[in-house]
Symmetry: C2
Subunit: 155 residues, 2 copies
DNA sequence: TAAGATTGAGTTGTCAATCTTA
DNA sequence: TAAGATTGACAACTCAATCTTA
């Protein structure tokens, strides 16, 4: 089915047949994140971006990441990371510590309060992801999908 | 806590094994859209959001969509859609037309200038999507993936 | 009363410029 | 000179309130 004709479900395909997957990918992402954002905001007054910082920090051994590294992991600009950490620091969930070995550098460190908060908050987004995402992804396909996603956006 | 153990590649998995796919999905989306955004902005001074409006309008028969419908398709708030169309209208790429049958309603209509602009601009994002997304998605898997993405974020 | 749409106020992110240390 | 990080100025989106027509 190469014709522009019967486009039914997947309109807006930029006149290109293959673009259906891409549009579906975009829309899925937007719907899910929007929903998770609302739910997390409503139940715990936290944004997904803030939650992601706590998750990233809690996932590394010593609960700390350099600002640049954090920005890279969040796929955020450096200034964006600065401001995000700034807000979390104001709430006492993250602490800023300057780096000994390179005095230009700063660590973003998860505080105990931050870890506690993450523990209380996490169930909400976890349930959301399970229900809105994982439930629709066949477990057998997950390893292959993960590898595919990991390749996307590189080159 | 089941043990922070061997998390290797997919850290930040929220202490949950299955979450690797989810994190990979999030990161892939962020990387690709960020790159497309920069490229489109640099080459044609247009945002991805603006481009998406033109695409959506050009994809429907009479090149027009009600504001609400447009917002839904873009997965954007209604006010977000209003402001986006406002900007495009200022550039003459979209025209606002009030609706006859329901005088509360407004059509966003793609102008000829808008269609022309879309034609000139499109090659850039299309190449980007081909290179950063489609190239990594096996053609045989695309129909199944499209169906999967279409289900995500519902329920 | 409700639905379509817009507006005012506020939040969050970006870029470009800047400061500091390597 | 360049790299890490922050700041100022600004762009784009969200919610809540509002206006208009159903």
């Amino acid at each position: 089915m190469t014709g522009p004709a019967i486009d039914g479900e997947h309109q807006a395909s930029d006149r290109e047949p293959r673009l259906g997957v891409w549009r579906a990918f975009l829309t899925a992402h937007a719907r899910i994140t929007r929903s998770l954002e609302h739910e997390l905001q409503a139940t715990h007054g936290m944004s997904l971006a803030e939650y992601d910082v706590l998750v990233q920090l809690s996932a590394v051994g010593d609960r700390r990441l350099r600002m640049s590294e954090l920005a890279d992991r969040l796929v955020l600009s450096r200034s964006g990371a600065t401001r995000l950490v700034e807000r979390l620091a104001a709430e006492g969930l993250v602490e800023r510590v300057s780096c000994d070995s390179d005095r230009r550098g700063q660590w973003a460190v998860l505080t105990d309060a931050g870890a506690d908060r993450l523990g209380r908050v996490a169930p909400t987004p976890l349930r959301g992801v399970a229900r809105q995402f994982l439930a629709h992804v066949p477990p057998d396909d997950q390893p292959a999908l993960t590898r595919m996603f990991d390749r996307l956006g590189r080159s």
